[in-house]
């Protein structure tokens, strides 16, 4: 009797919990869908070839986002070109060479903490460190993003270095290979996936960054080549979105950019998942 009553109560409780969980899942999914549909719905009709292929002109009062697209590409390239060697190098040093494990632990902890700091603080620091000396320009922005992304690249690389079995290193050392040869031929190939994943995630972060870049890279809309572009101030897509929406009330353009960014973000996440799946498969043979 008592047991039956209890189990009934328990069953009721479980049903309730299940219902609540379903509700939160449904809510989350609905939110994501709503955002996607809303942004794409508002944005896509505003995306025209003219918008994508021209720069803004005061004469015709037309807006074009070609400079912002180029600036975004430049800043992504410059940042990755600097941050990948630095981050991977630091990770290799910390995992393979450093002998003081306590210091390594402290650095790892610091990197962990650094990646949680609000980006506007990086912007402030970047402004003082870079923009004050080299002027407001894409390069100053890229260097700021380097500082911002360095901990992430370092940590993801380190984590994947740690998954390379110790027995590979022993095998190579046992054949008389020196440290650098072991790292280069046996360890590094095993951590390519970590580097690629970290790089892709960084691209996502760079695309989404606005605060840090407003401080350091400015928001000009001139069409430049790579080198000139890095030396000149410029807005990335995300910064341009902010400027067009907030300062100029151009919501059509803002939503067009938002739709583009949204699609890019989805593609980036997809790519990261793909890379991981590809390497997981290769590892299991």
């Amino acid at each position: 009797m008592l047991n039956q009553a209890l189990s009934k109560k328990r069953k009721g409780f479980e049903a309730l919990v299940k219902a609540l969980m379903l509700l939160s899942v449904g809510l989350t999914a609905a939110l994501v869908l709503f955002l996607l549909i809303y942004v794409l719905g508002q944005g896509i009709p505003n995306i025209t070839w003219e918008l994508l292929s021209t720069k803004p002109s005061y004469l015709t009062e037309r807006i074009g986002i070609l400079p912002d697209i180029l600036n975004t590409v430049y800043i992504v390239l410059a940042t990755l070109l600097i941050v990948l060697p630095l981050g991977v190098g630091a990770a290799i040093y910390l995992t393979e060479y450093a002998s003081n494990k306590k210091v390594v632990g402290i650095i790892e902890y610091a990197a962990e903490t650094l990646s949680g700091i609000p980006s506007i603080i990086y912007g402030l620091v970047g402004m003082l460190l870079f923009s004050n000396s080299m002027g407001t320009c894409l390069m100053a922005g890229a260097l700021t993003l380097v500082i911002m992304n360095l901990p992430t690249i370092m940590r993801t690389t380190q984590e994947s270095l740690k998954t390379v079995p110790q027995s590979y290193r022993e095998g190579a050392f046992g054949l008389g290979a020196g440290k650098w040869r072991v790292v280069r031929t046996v360890v590094l190939p095993g951590c390519v996936d970590g580097v690629i994943t970290g790089g892709i995630l960084s691209v996502g972060r760079i695309l989404g960054e606005s605060a840090a870049l407003l401080f350091t890279a400015g928001f000009a809309h001139a069409v430049n080549g790579l080198i000139d572009g890095l030396a000149a101030p410029g807005a990335t897509l995300t910064v341009a979105l902010y400027v067009y929406a907030k300062e100029q009330g151009e919501f059509g353009v803002a939503f067009a950019i938002a739709a583009i960014l949204m699609v890019l973000t989805v593609m980036i996440n997809f790519a990261a998942a793909l890379v991981q799946k590809h390497f997981a498969k290769r590892r299991s043979i």
């Binding site: 027995s167 054949l175 040869r181 043979i285």
Partner: protein
């Protein structure tokens, strides 16, 4: 003739002493087996012989190890050359995640051989010597991780032979393998002893009797007894050796 001679070797992992005053002369071109209960320091001692313990932080070593008369701990000795002379095969097969060919060519390439013809020749010879050529010759470009455990272990032996070492250290090379693979490797080891000095850790007494010429019995970090395998197993001098080989402990 001994190729490696060890005097009063002690080794500590931090505060824990794992080897106590080990003295041994390892005879050239023959098979020496190390036996003893788990944790007695067999692997530790084996790894000391080609300084693989250098990789472990906190290891302290005193005493003297001479390889062909040279102190292996002296500053003039290049540890990479030492490991080229004294190769190693591990308990768990550990081929690199690359092709069979690249696995075997790894060592020679490390030591500066780049000529394709020469490499092909070395790889084939090593694979033949390790009795895996017939199984490997049609799949040299295939990933080594696709082989069976026994094949992988013979590949690891081939990989070690490819740098033309004089000594081969083997730490329980068959303990992760099935009986058929085990007997193939035992046969292989016995064939190799004409050309190489082999030092092998084993938990399997029958294996020690079957393949080795000399046997060393370790207990709690001490080398209790060392001698001809026949003598050790038929008339051990030390009571502890007798207790161990008759299965009274360990």
């Amino acid at each position: 003739m001994s190729i490696i001679s060890v005097k009063e070797l002690c080794l500590w992992y931090g505060d824990h002493q794992a080897l106590r005053n080990v003295d041994i002369e390892i005879p050239e071109k023959s098979i020496t087996a190390f036996i003893g209960p788990s944790g007695c320091g067999k692997s530790t001692f084996l790894k000391t012989l080609n300084r693989m313990n250098d990789l472990i932080p906190g290891v302290k070593i005193t005493g003297d190890i001479r390889y062909e008369g040279t102190d292996i701990f002296s500053k003039e000795v290049d540890v990479n050359n030492l490991r080229k002379e004294i190769g190693m095969v591990f308990q768990k097969p550990n081929p690199f995640p690359m092709s069979i060919y690249d696995n075997v060519a790894y060592g020679p390439r490390t030591h500066g051989i780049t000529n394709k013809v020469e490499l092909d020749d070395i790889v084939e010879r090593a694979l033949r010597d390790a009795a895996i050529w017939d199984e490997a010759k049609d799949r040299l470009k295939k990933n080594a991780l696709g082989m069976s455990g026994g094949q992988q272990q013979r590949l690891c032996i081939a990989r070690a032979l490819a740098v033309q070492p004089k000594v081969l250290l083997m730490d329980e090379p068959t303990s992760a393998l099935d009986p058929i693979s085990t007997s193939r490797i035992e046969e292989l080891v016995m064939e190799l002893k004409g050309k190489y000095t082999i030092v092998m850790v084993t938990h399997n007494m029958q294996q020690a009797v079957r393949v080795s010429d000399h046997t060393a019995f370790f207990l709690l970090g001490e080398l209790v007894e060392f001698g001809k395998t026949d003598d050790i197993f038929s008339q051990p001098k030390d009571q502890r050796t007798e207790d161990y080989i008759t299965g009274r402990f360990g």
